[in-house]
């Protein structure tokens, strides 16, 4: 589904060039789950941003299989990148995942309305099932700031999967939660992705969370190594 081919990325700070990713390659298919661990500043989030077409590599290709053709993410224009995120990617962040002036239900509904332009009964049933499976259906009429951190992250998973993207990118989704909540949210995340046949790429510091995914990678010295 996505194949990363020899990508490199470096940053220049105060005249000093720092290589973050060095000729890195990786590929995964729909329904796969991967976790990436690494020290702070090792480039985990950068890799995630490249896969979300938020940033471009200095060299190498990120190929996306779309229907019968292969698209190179690194050559996407801003408009193409917007379209890609609209239809192919779900994003979950550590914080600020929900719009606080609209209800939980409206938050979850929003990606469907943005990507499909319409919202029908089928979507309604799907969202009901999704929220129920994540255990937050009863909170659907509440505003996000009325929910606990764990509940908010579960709603964020639902929002990330609502428009059925083939790829879900999660940047330390449980980084702000306590141990118990972290376990339950990460379990739900992996299981729901599997159930939806969505590829999951999760950046995390927690080995426990990482172990829930099928493939575990460690980013060190700008290169990936399998654990």
């Amino acid at each position: 589904m996505i194949s990363i081919d020899n990508i490199s990325k470096s940053y220049t700070d105060a005249g000093e060039t720092r290589v973050i990713l060095n000729e890195l390659s990786l590929s995964f298919e729909q329904g796969d789950s991967l976790s990436i661990q690494g020290a702070s500043g090792s480039g985990k989030s950068t890799l995630l941003h490249l896969l979300a077409a938020l940033d471009k590599p200095d060299s190498g290709k990120i190929m996306l299989q779309h229907e019968d053709c292969m698209l190179n993410l690194s050559t996407f224009s801003e408009k193409q990148a917007d379209q890609y995120r609209k239809h192919h990617v779900g994003l979950i962040f550590q914080r600020f995942n929900l719009i606080d002036c609209i209800s939980v239900w409206d938050n979850v509904k929003l990606p469907i309305q943005i990507s499909k332009g319409t919202y029908g009964e089928e979507s309604d049933a799907f969202l009901k099932e999704l929220l129920s499976s994540l255990g937050v259906y009863q909170h659907r009429h509440k505003l996000p700031n009325r929910l606990s951190g764990g509940e908010q992250q579960r709603v964020a998973i639902a929002r990330g999967l609502a428009h059925k993207p083939p790829l879900l990118l999660a940047d330390e989704p449980t980084g702000n939660l306590d141990g118990k909540n972290s376990d339950s949210v990460s379990h739900l995340l992996v299981e729901t992705c599997k159930a939806q046949n969505t590829a999951l790429l999760m950046v995390t510091h927690s080995q426990k969370v990482a172990r829930l995914t099928e493939q575990q990678w460690y980013l060190e010295d700008a290169r990936l190594r399998a654990i």
Binding site: E78, F93, L98
Partner: protein, 854 residues
Amino acid sequence: MYWPFLGVLLASYRNSKFSLLMLLCSLIIACSGLSAVLVINSSAKQSYSSNEQFLVPNVFHQIIPAGNDKILTKQDYANLRRAGFTELIAIAQTQQHVFVEGKRITQRRIEYTGIDTYALLSYLSVPKALSSTSTENDNEDSSLLNTGNFSQLAFSSTDRGSVALLHPELHQNLIDAAKVIQANDGEFKTEDARILPQLQSLENAALGNDIIMDISNLFALYPDSQLSSLLVIGELSPTRVRRIKEELPEHLSLQQLNTAAQTSELTNSFHLNLMAMALLMFVVCLFIVVNAVNLLLHARLAWLKICRQLGIGRQQLFLVQLCEVVILTLIATIAGMLLGIELAKLASPTVQSTLENLYQVNVGFGNISLTGLFIQVFFISLLGCVAASILPLQKLNQDLSSTKSSDHPARQKLWTRITWGLFIAFSFTGFLLLNFAQALWMLLIATACVILAGCCVLLVNYPLALKQINKLIPSSMPLLSMSAKQSMALSGKTKIACCAFFIAATSNIGMNLMVDSFRGATFTWLEQRLSADYYIYSNTELGINDIAAASGVIIHQRFDNYTKYQGKDIQQFSYPSTPRYQEAMSFYDLAPAFQQNNIQNLWASFEEKNGVLINQQFAFGFDVGAGDQIAIPHPSTGQLNNYLVLGIIYDFGNPSPQVLMPVDMFDPSTSAFFIYSIQANPEQLSSFKKALEAKGLDAQDRMISTSELLKLSMKAFDDTFIITDGLNIVTLLVAALSLACAIVVIMNDVRPQNMLVRSLGVSAFKTQILALFQYLLLCFVALIFATPFGILLSWVLIFEINYQAFSWTYPLLLSASKIAKVYVTSLCVVCIVIAIPLIRAGKRPLISDIRQMN
């Protein structure tokens, strides 16, 4: 403790350049607006008082012609001086343009004043035996010129001859105007190429728009000039007054100059109007200061929290930041003051024409005391700034504490109740003042109460109105709906800015409707009143009546007479009662007996000299109604008679109370006149023109058609209201700036939400449009609330302020297109002002927001 914190404070400017810039800009705008109005105010005040001042010291009486048709001659002057009245000093005045190389260089006529300086100097140098006066020069400061100046005028001579004095600014204007036309010789001349005396600048604000010279020079330049008055120097004893009166020929009269009360009244109203203008501008500017300080504090919130953690107390934080506000105010005052002076100079011609139209004074150039101006501006600004900073600084204290109590529902409920309470208080005060106030300043307070009551209504109902609007957005537009909901959340954070916008919008709608109504009323009134085909302005007998009779042209002469009613000056004008002129009359109110289609009887009564018509100024000024009786002198005989007030008429633009009386009540041989109205067909007109030209009168120059007159009058009207239009736009701009400051703060708050929306694949452009929609929605709702209050304000302005200030009112014209124009202009101004922060936010890449937030 203070110094390290101050160091951190200064270092913080590196990261909050934009906020600092906004704060400084808003302060400079506030200070420059205030300085400009203070300069205009002071200059106009000086000029106004100079209009009521005399050229020489200790003048309490003057001798003038007994009527408009009478002339004060040089022979009269010589006879009176020969009779021993050496305290009489002749003055001649004429208004003329200045020319260079045959080209006119002045936009407005300059007042040339000639003084018999030799007579004056010889009088001042001899002991005052004849008059029981106290002509010490202790009062010299209250006059325009002193003995030195008179000597300069009388004896100074240059290679070009004698000297004339004028204000340096007028002098500079003439020099500049001469440069524009690239004059070679640079000599200032009259229209018929007579060279003006050597112009010398004299720093005296009261000189206004005048050129002062010796009377002989004035007659040399303008031989046709007449003496305008003879000033009597020194206080006169009753015996001396009696003696002068006995010696005066019939065509001259002695007039006591005691206009202090009237002057003071007019000056106060004049001053009050300008101060109201300044305060409106200043108050709106303070809204920017509140938002700008908020913006600055918001930018430093994070490190202020660290300072608190390091043990710096709230009071210390407050004090240091207050010092910062004082320093910034000082910088802004200096910059704003300089800008304000330049602005005042720029606005000078427009302001001059407006003030001259409204108050009929000659506005010249003011002497500005920079120190005085600085002290005034600095202390007013400082007071305003400190007051405006307390609110954001207190909010900062709340933000620095761990609990935010402002969101608590009980507290919100309390605020709602307080706001409703304030609404009731403002409404009640406004109502009382509007019904019982007798002074203009109280009515201005009532106007402020109306606006503030509106602010309270807006604050309480803002979220409710936004909620209703949100309901109208279809569910198929999720982003729009989300934006509208976000607006509801933002309305709580933009209260102050929205109030500033509301005030600006309300005053805009109010002023626009007032001006539109005034314009409509003036146009209709002029169109109706200007019933003749042509008008000739002339106050000298040219035999026009005979020429008209020979040409078959119907002509009416407008006679006038000036008399007193209840001790105040009034005008008596003649009005023809032919059917055409009857139709042309525009009534504000009729006596009860003539109200029901009984207008013919009214005119019959008018022709029978049983009744008169009065203008609104007379009716409101003396509290006279239609149907009342008034006792006024007969314009020809002077005999006091009672007349029924048949009706009250509109008379816009006239500051004086006026009574219209039948033409035959005026004696053509003795009454003054200044205008002829002409009705004629084209043939009659052509023959009339030829007859005029045969008599050596330039018909083209003297006659003005009704359409031309109407056009000229409306142009004068529009010119008068240029300032109002300008002020409206400035107020809107300032309010929009205030909103922009608030928006910059909000943008930081809504960044995570926008980041999220963009991460869902919504383009940056769409996000910007959505943000624009949010802010415009806030403004639109403020405009909706401003509309009824704007209409109410225009009602107050027309029926209360105008009534009190000018003694006239006119029907309120509610024009939907005018209100729509204010809507469009306001939203455009907001779009322009918020475009910069919006574009700035839109240009930030999504990835930088994501990195920063997570």
